[in-house]
């Protein structure tokens, strides 16, 4: 409890700063200018966010060439739909990451890729555990904060959230991977995300 309060008061909430990826430029502004066809602004947006987008896509898709392809699709889509971004509905980074996550997940669930992944199911459980996550993370303040927040989840919640978000698995697949009764995984995912939200101080 103490930890949580300390964390909440000393660290800026993710939503205010739009995360580490937005430390520099104002993503909302870059997105608005992109909507007006400003390619330079879009390049700025790319530079500020591409590590985050490509890293997530790569984490889910695994194959670097395919990840580049997906990342390119994501940015073209962001460019194309930038005028539809509504700051009243969330941060620019969240909007962009939602597009990226959905695109990566769609890609691995398309037949060919998912067949390849099915073969790797068993090893995936090990691969996506917390140590792998920690190893991939660098020492940014935000990553440290997120890791700390993840520590507040139960082991079961954390595995479910990580397999779903970072692994790109459906809740049915997560249930199977974690040997849970069907239907339990979605509850764990939700409970885990709620705890993450509360710890990180995300507000609507």
């Amino acid at each position: 409890m103490m930890d949580r309060m300390t964390a909440a008061s000393s660290d800026p909430p993710v939503t205010d700063s739009e995360g580490a990826a937005a430390r520099g430029p104002d993503l909302t502004d870059l997105l608005r200018r992109s909507a007006r066809g400003d390619e330079e602004a879009f390049a700025g947006l790319y530079d500020a966010t591409s590590r985050r987008v490509y890293g997530l896509v790569l984490r889910i898709v695994r194959d670097p060439a395919m990840s580049e392809e997906v990342t390119q699709e994501v940015y073209l889509d962001v460019w194309r739909t930038s005028a539809r971004f509504d700051a009243g509905r969330g941060t620019a980074l969240s909007w962009l990451m939602t597009i990226a996550h959905r695109a990566a997940v769609d890609r691995v669930r398309s037949s060919e890729a998912s067949r390849r992944r099915d073969d790797a199911h068993a090893s995936a459980t090990q691969e996506v555990d917390f140590d792998a996550t920690a190893e991939a993370a660098h020492t940014s303040i935000e990553a440290a904060r997120v890791r700390k927040a993840l520590d507040t989840l139960t082991e079961a919640q954390r595995s479910a959230v990580e397999l779903a978000y970072l692994g790109g698995y459906t809740h049915t697949e997560v249930a199977r991977l974690l040997d849970l009764p069907l239907g339990t995984a979605k509850t764990r995912i939700r409970d885990g995300l709620i705890r993450l939200r509360d710890t990180l101080g995300v507000t609507a």
């Binding site: 066809g37 591409s50 985050r52 890293g55 969330g90 939602t98 990553a143 997120v146 990180l200």
Partner: protein, 266 residues
């Protein structure tokens, strides 16, 4: 609406629903403000995890992306009456969902992703929504939309022919609503077109919204093949706006979803 669907908000936020569940939930999401705010917050929380997996893409990708956008025209913004926007965006019902127009040479893959944006509804108070809608208010009598129906026609005509009769309209995509009212009579009649079928077990309920922002039921409208009209029940006199919401069959005592249409009264 199955209460079970509420529990899907977390899985939805991390794209962990299968295709069927996803569309079922999106339909629910378009009507459930609790889930809209859940999804909003949980999505934001989930994306924090992406801070753990950052990786630098090859420089060639930047070149490819920036070359690519030169050939793609950004879509124009949606310039619609915000107040008339269906609850939760257009996840399942509104016609604009059929956008993305695929851009030549871009391929289906890019166009496909245009749907992925989560559909959160900005919280707007009824009065604010009504104020936005008021921009579209037009004076005078709008007769043309009222030409063909039978049973209520007399009541509709009565409102239309009142000396102080006014008409306000609101539209978004194919959904359009027109309200004719008379302060003198204390009555109004609404006509809607392009209305998506109400989900199973749901109905469209009409509301008079007072200057105190309290909504009072004003009956129902049952569109047939997307079109319908209805004379509102109750007294117009204290109303600042008329709204339409989706409610469980039989109606609610107070709106439980955000309005799909709000018409401000002059």
């Amino acid at each position: 609406m199955s209460p079970d669907l509420h529990h899907l908000s977390g899985a939805y936020a991390v794209d962990a629903l299968d295709t069927d569940e996803r569309s079922a939930f999106e339909q629910h999401l378009s009507l459930c403000s609790a889930c809209q705010s859940d999804v909003h917050e949980l999505t934001e929380a989930a994306h924090a995890l992406a801070a753990l997996t950052e990786a630098a893409p090859p420089a060639s990708l930047r070149t490819a992306v920036l070359a690519g956008i030169g050939q793609v025209r950004p879509l124009p913004p949606l310039v619609v009456d915000d107040a008339a926007q269906p609850v939760g965006g257009d996840a399942s019902t509104a016609p604009t969902h059929d956008e993305p127009e695929p851009v030549a040479g871009e391929g289906a893959a890019v166009a496909r992703h245009a749907k992925v944006v989560p559909l959160f509804r900005r919280r707007t108070t009824w009065i604010a929504a009504a104020a936005a809608a008021a921009v579209l208010a037009v004076g005078g009598v709008g007769v043309d939309a009222w030409t063909s129906q039978e049973p209520e026609l007399t009541a509709v005509q009565e409102v239309q022919q009142a000396p102080d009769s006014s008409t306000v309209t609101s539209s978004r995509g194919e959904l359009s609503a027109e309200l004719t009212y008379s302060r003198e009579l204390g009555r109004s009649a609404i006509s809607m077109t392009g209305v998506p079928p109400a989900p199973d077990g749901m109905t469209y309920q009409l509301w008079y919204v007072g200057t105190d922002e309290v909504a009072r039921s004003a009956g129902f409208i049952e569109p047939d093949d997307g079109r319908g009209q209805s004379v509102l029940e109750g007294d117009l006199s204290r109303a600042a706006a008329v709204g339409v919401t989706v409610e469980p069959a039989g109606g609610s005592d107070a709106p439980t979803t955000e309005p799909i249409v709000v018409l401000a009264l002059g």
